[in-house]
Amino acid sequence: MATTSPLTLAVVSAGLSQPSSTRLLADRLAAATSAHLAEAGREVQVQRHELRPLATLISHHLLSGFPAPALAQALEQVSGADALIAVSPVFSASYSGLFKSFFDLFEPGALAGKPVLIAATGGTARHSLALEHALRPLFAYQRALLAPTAVFAASEDWGGTGDALTDTLPVRIERAGAELAALAVAAASAPLSAAPALPFAPPPAALSPH
C-alpha cells in the first residue's frame, strides 16, 4: 500500500549568509512537518536544497537553457517530492532574485497539486506581507496546493515572546507544519494533479488516428 511508503519532503532555502536565519527557519518548519507526519504514522525523507551553492549553476541554466547535473538533480527531486517547504529571505519587498530564478526553471505544471509551505525571513515584521503578495502568487501560478499558514520570521522573532496578542514564531511554525503534513498525507492518497514529472507531454490526439 502507498500509505506505508515514506513521503519525501523537499526543503528549499534561499538564504545567502552562513549561518542563515532562512535555513534556520526552513529546518524548524521541516522538523515540525516531520513530527506531524510521524504522528500520522508516515515516515518522511527530508531532502534539503540550499540554493547558495547552486547559484552559479542556476544562472548558467538561465543562459544555456539546460541544467548542469547537480542542478538537474535538485530540480528533479523538488519536482518529485510529496511536499515542499520554500523559504526565501525578503529582498526589496519580495523574494530574493536567486529564489525566483530557481523556481523560474520549473516547467509549467511541474509543481501542480504539490503541497507547499511558504516562509520568509526579514529584518522586520513589516515585510511579512511579501509572503502573500509575492510568494503565494508565484506558487498559485504553478497550481501548487498552498498551506493556509505562511510563516514569516523577523529578527525579533528569534528572541523574546513578541507581541502578547499575536502567535509567537513557534506557534506559527507548529500550525504551518501541521497544515503541510495534513496536505501531504491527503495529496499522497488522492493526488490533485496527474501532471507527470516527465519532460515530454503525450502525443497529440489530433494526429493519432487510433
Partner: protein, 360 residues
C-alpha cells in the same frame, strides 16, 4: 549515411577583432561555405531561415538556387524552413521550383521557429505554433501530391481549384525532415507521415535527444512505416578542430566566451562535457560523433554547425578542409561497421523516384 553542414546565418562580431561582417559579407561567406562543402566531399548543405537581425538568411531558396547552379552533387536543404509563419502554398511552390533548378538535389527540414515576434509579423500567433505546424504541413503535402486542391482550414484563406506550380520534379515531392528539440507532437508528426526526424542535438543534454528520437522511432513503427530501426533520423552537432586539441581550445575559447549562444554561462569545459559541442582534435570529433550512434541508434544524416560564434570565413573554410579530409572519411567507414543492412539510407530524389510507381 550522409554528412553535411548547416548554417544558422547569424552575423556575429569576431571577438578577436571586434568586427562584425556586413550583411553582404556574411551572405557571400555562407555561399562560399556551401561551395566548399561540396568541394571537400560533404553530402548536404542546409541553411537556416530567419526574419530578424542579426540573422541574414530570410530567403533560403534564393541562396540555394545560386548554390545549385555552382555545384554538381551536394544535396541542398534547410535548417529549418518555418512551417508556421510561411504560407504553405509558397513553400510548395518555392521548393518544387528549387527541385527543378537543382535537378532534384533538394530536401527540406521543417521547424516552427521560436522567435515570438516573427509570428505576429507574419500574421500568426505563437500560441498556435503546433496547430499551425500540423495544418500547414497537411496542406503542403496535398499541394505537392494532388494536381488540383480544394482546401479549407483554420489558418489561411480557403483554396478552390488551386494547382501549385511547378509540379514537383518527376512527380516526387521533396523529402521532408521535421526538426524539433523537445516537442513530442513534432516527433509524432514525423512518425505519422513516415518522414524524417531531425534533432539539432546541440544545446541539450543527450538524454533529451535520446528520448525524442526513441519516441519518433516507436511511433514510426506504430504508424506502419517499418520497424523502429527503419525510421529516418538526423542529428546536429557542432565542432571546432585543430590537429592539436590544446590549439583548438585556445583558439576557440574567445569565440565561445563571447558568442551570444554560448557565452557568459557555463565554461567551455563544462559546455563541451554536457553538450555535443566538441572542441579538440579531429580524432576527438570522430570519437564523439561515433558515440551518437549509442544514443539514437544507426542514423541517416549528420549535420555539423561550423560557421558559429563569429568565426571568420578563412577559419571556417579551414575547418571544412579538416572535416572533409580527416573526419568524414573515417566516420563513413566506422559508421558502416556493424550497421544492419536493414537500416535505410536517407532518401534522395533518385531513390524516391525509383520507388514511386507513376513517376516519369
Amino acid at each position: 549515411m550522409q554528412f553535411g553542414i548547416f548554417s544558422v546565418g547569424d552575423v556575429t562580431v569576431d571577438p578577436t577583432t571586434g568586427r562584425a561582417p556586413s550583411e553582404q559579407e556574411r551572405i557571400k561567406a555562407i555561399l562560399a561555405i556551401a561551395l566548399k562543402a561540396e568541394e571537400v566531399g560533404l553530402d548536404v548543405f542546409a541553411t537556416g531561415e530567419h526574419h530578424n537581425p542579426p540573422f541574414v538568411p530570410s530567403s533560403p531558396t534564393t541562396m540555394l538556387g545560386w548554390i545549385a547552379a555552382r555545384t554538381e552533387r551536394i544535396v541542398l536543404s534547410t535548417a529549418t524552413t518555418l512551417i508556421t509563419t510561411n504560407d504553405p502554398v509558397k513553400i510548395a511552390e518555392d521548393y518544387a521550383m528549387l527541385q527543378h533548378v537543382a535537378d532534384g538535389r533538394v530536401d527540406l527540414m521543417l521547424g516552427r521557429g521560436n522567435t515570438g515576434p516573427v509570428y505576429p509579423w507574419f500574421g500568426q500567433d505563437i500560441r498556435q505554433g503546433i496547430p499551425l505546424a500540423l495544418e500547414n504541413y497537411a496542406l503542403l503535402r496535398r499541394l505537392w501530391r494532388e494536381e488540383v486542391v480544394d482546401w479549407e482550414g483554420r489558418f489561411r484563406t480557403p483554396l478552390q481549384s488551386f494547382t501549385a506550380t511547378p509540379r514537383p520534379l518527376d512527380g516526387v515531392p521533396p523529402f521532408v525532415w521535421h526538426g524539433s528539440i523537445r516537442s513530442p507532437e513534432i516527433a509524432e508528426q514525423a512518425a505519422y507521415y513516415g518522414d524524417g526526424f531531425f534533432h539539432n542535438n546541440i544545446f541539450w543534454p543527450q538524454e533529451h535527444t535520446r528520448q525524442m528520437v526513441a519516441l519518433y522511432r516507436d511511433r514510426f513503427a506504430h504508424h506502419g512505416h517499418g520497424t523502429p530501426e527503419e525510421a529516418i533520423v538526423g542529428l546536429g552537432g557542432q565542432v571546432f578542430m585543430r590537429p592539436n586539441s590544446q590549439d583548438a581550445v585556445r583558439e576557440f575559447r574567445p569565440y565561445f566566451d563571447n558568442a551570444p549562444v554560448y557565452g557568459h554561462g557555463p565554461s567551455l569545459e563544462e559546455f563541451t562535457e554536457q553538450t555535443p559541442l566538441t572542441v579538440g582534435s579531429p580524432q576527438q570529433v570522430i570519437e564523439r560523433t561515433l558515440a551518437f550512434r549509442e544514443v539514437v541508434g544507426d542514423y541517416q544524416r549528420q549535420l555539423f554547425l561550423m560557421d558559429h560564434a563569429g568565426l571568420p570565413l578563412k577559419t571556417v573554410l579551414e575547418q571544412l578542409d579538416i572535416l572533409g579530409e580527416e573526419v568524414v572519411p573515417v566516420l563513413r567507414k566506422e559508421f558502416a561497421v556493424g550497421r544492419p543492412v536493414t537500416v535505410p539510407d536517407a532518401p534522395t530524389h533518385a531513390a524516391l523516384r525509383d520507388r514511386t510507381p507513376d513517376a516519369s
